[in-house]
């Protein structure tokens, strides 16, 4: 998958779970401050990402994912 394919797949999840407009989900955006995603929604998003991209996100890794770009890199690195 290309970086853009991953970003766009993640954007679909963000729209479904947290109501984030797809065009707002750019790599530089932070989940909490820029996109207003709360901590419970982050947990939902993580589960949806695991299902969609076939990765496992341990809780301590989730804490390090601050931006859309962080999430995309994590998926790129860990996708089998």
């Amino acid at each position: 998958m290309t970086t853009e394919e991953i970003r766009s797949g993640l954007a679909e999840i963000l729209e479904e779970v947290a109501g984030v407009l797809p065009e707002d989900a750019t790599l530089d955006k932070t989940f909490t401050d820029d996109l207003d995603v709360d901590s419970l929604s982050m947990v939902e998003i993580a589960t949806a990402v695991e299902d969609k991209f076939g990765v496992v996100i341990p809780d301590d890794e989730l804490a390090n994912i601050k931006t859309v770009g962080d999430a995309v890199s994590f998926i790129e690195t860990n996708q089998s």
Binding site: A18, G19, L40, S41, E44, T47, E50
Partner: protein
């Protein structure tokens, strides 16, 4: 001198319609909101009918809110938006704005559905929103966030008296000087095989499955139990001078409330209705009214054999035979913790329009002496002149609540 507490906005979503106007029109037309449950629901359930809200909350709420709120909370939000807009969105200091929402079981559907998910798919599929969705104070919290209330967000849990008791508490908060405006009401949504099984095990539900629209028949000889319903009613209460100062339209006055406990049995009402009668008498005294002043009663009347008789006795001993009595659960089914609030709105509308909806399915009133003596409105809505009305609510646990409304 206690502050007067006025009603400036109402909102409801009920089995008869998605707002107050359509629900009231349904009552006047004598429509039933009762339908059959899905054929795939536990085939052994003896009661196969219920009263669902026909308007899907998803038509009104954002997708994210739908994911995060239990259905009882979704209904509360919809009714709150209607009531708040109706009141003209009062510009009140948030620290003077409170919320009281009654519910019988809170987010029971979420609890049951998420348990199914955990059993089938395990921990990782359980929603992180499950706790705020199932907690009984969730609806009050959701309403508080919607209107921005900071004077306290309260929950009353007294089974089928919850909605009425919430309104009584809302009135008390204003009288005690703790709030200028209170959004108060009741919400319930637990139409699911387990509550249906529980009530059916108690032999509390009608099993007139082949005639859903005829199943809820308060005070009728052929009644055989209540019909489980869902819905929400919300009211905006204000201190009278606050409402007048901002030029709000006053719809009516919440003039008094009375609360008592039966001290008799966990679920059976006292057959002589003494507890209910005491709540009504206390409410009249609280309102400073005499029994002769009451022209209309919206009865709790769930259509159970024992409950309706006890209530007839309570009404007769506390008020007498003169008021026009209706029983709107004959059309809406029993909205449990929402019933008292929805019926308070119906009572207010009857007072405003000077028109009492008829009891549906009352073909053959019970031979019981007290039922026979009641001035029950049958067949057609009855126009009448009256300036005060009562609505009463009773709940498992022996809770009795009566509210008195007067014209503005």
């Amino acid at each position: 001198m206690l502050a007067d507490v006025v009603i400036t906005g109402v909102g409801a979503t009920t089995p008869l319609g998605g707002d107050v106007v359509s629900s009231w029109a349904g009552l006047l037309a004598g429509r039933s909101g009762i339908v059959r449950i899905g054929a795939d629901w536990d085939p052994d359930l003896p009661a196969r009918i219920a009263a669902f809200c026909p308007v899907d909350p998803a038509e009104h709420l954002e997708r994210v809110a739908m994911r995060r709120l239990d259905r009882s909370q979704q209904l509360a939000l919809i009714a709150t938006r209607e009531a708040w807009a109706h009141a003209g969105r009062p510009a009140v200091d948030p620290v003077r704005l409170a919320v009281v929402v009654g519910t019988g079981v809170g987010g029971a559907k979420t609890l049951l559905e998420q348990d199914d998910i955990q059993e089938a798919e395990g921990f990782r599929k359980v929603s992180p929103h499950v706790v705020p969705m199932l907690m009984p104070n969730g609806p009050a919290a959701a309403v508080g966030l919607e209107v921005g209330a900071e004077a306290g967000v309260h929950t009353v849990v007294s089974a089928c008296a919850s909605g009425a008791e919430a309104l009584g508490l809302g009135m008390d908060l204003i009288r005690a000087g703790r709030a200028d405006v209170v959004v108060a009401g009741g919400t319930e949504s637990c139409i699911h095989p387990l509550p249906l099984a529980g009530f059916a095990k108690m032999r509390a539900l009608s099993t007139r499955n082949d005639e859903p629209a005829a199943a809820s028949r308060p005070f009728d000889k052929g009644r055989d139990g209540f019909v489980l319903g869902e819905g929400c009613g919300m009211l905006v209460l204000e201190r009278g001078d606050f409402a007048r100062a901002r030029g709000a339209e006053v719809l009516g006055v919440l003039a008094g409330a009375g609360v008592s406990a039966d001290n008799y049995d966990m679920v059976q009402p006292r057959p002589d209705g003494a507890g209910g009668a005491r709540a009504i008498t206390l409410a009249l005294r609280d309102a400073g009214l005499d029994k002769a002043d009451i022209g209309h009663i919206n009865a709790h009347a769930t259509s159970t054999p024992v409950g309706d008789k006890a209530e007839a006795a309570a009404i007769r001993s506390a008020i007498g035979d003169h008021p026009l009595v209706t029983a709107t659960k004959s059309m809406t089914g029993h909205l449990l913790g929402a019933a008292g609030a929805v019926e308070c709105i119906f009572t207010l509308w009857a007072l405003r329009e000077q028109l009492v909806p008829a009891v549906r399915n009352l073909d053959d009133p019970d031979d019981d002496e007290d039922v026979q003596a009641l001035n029950l409105v049958r067949y057609e809505p009855r126009p009448a002149r009256f300036s005060a009305a009562v609505t009463d609510s009773f709940g498992f646990g022996g809770h009795n609540v009566a509210l008195v409304l007067t014209r503005s």
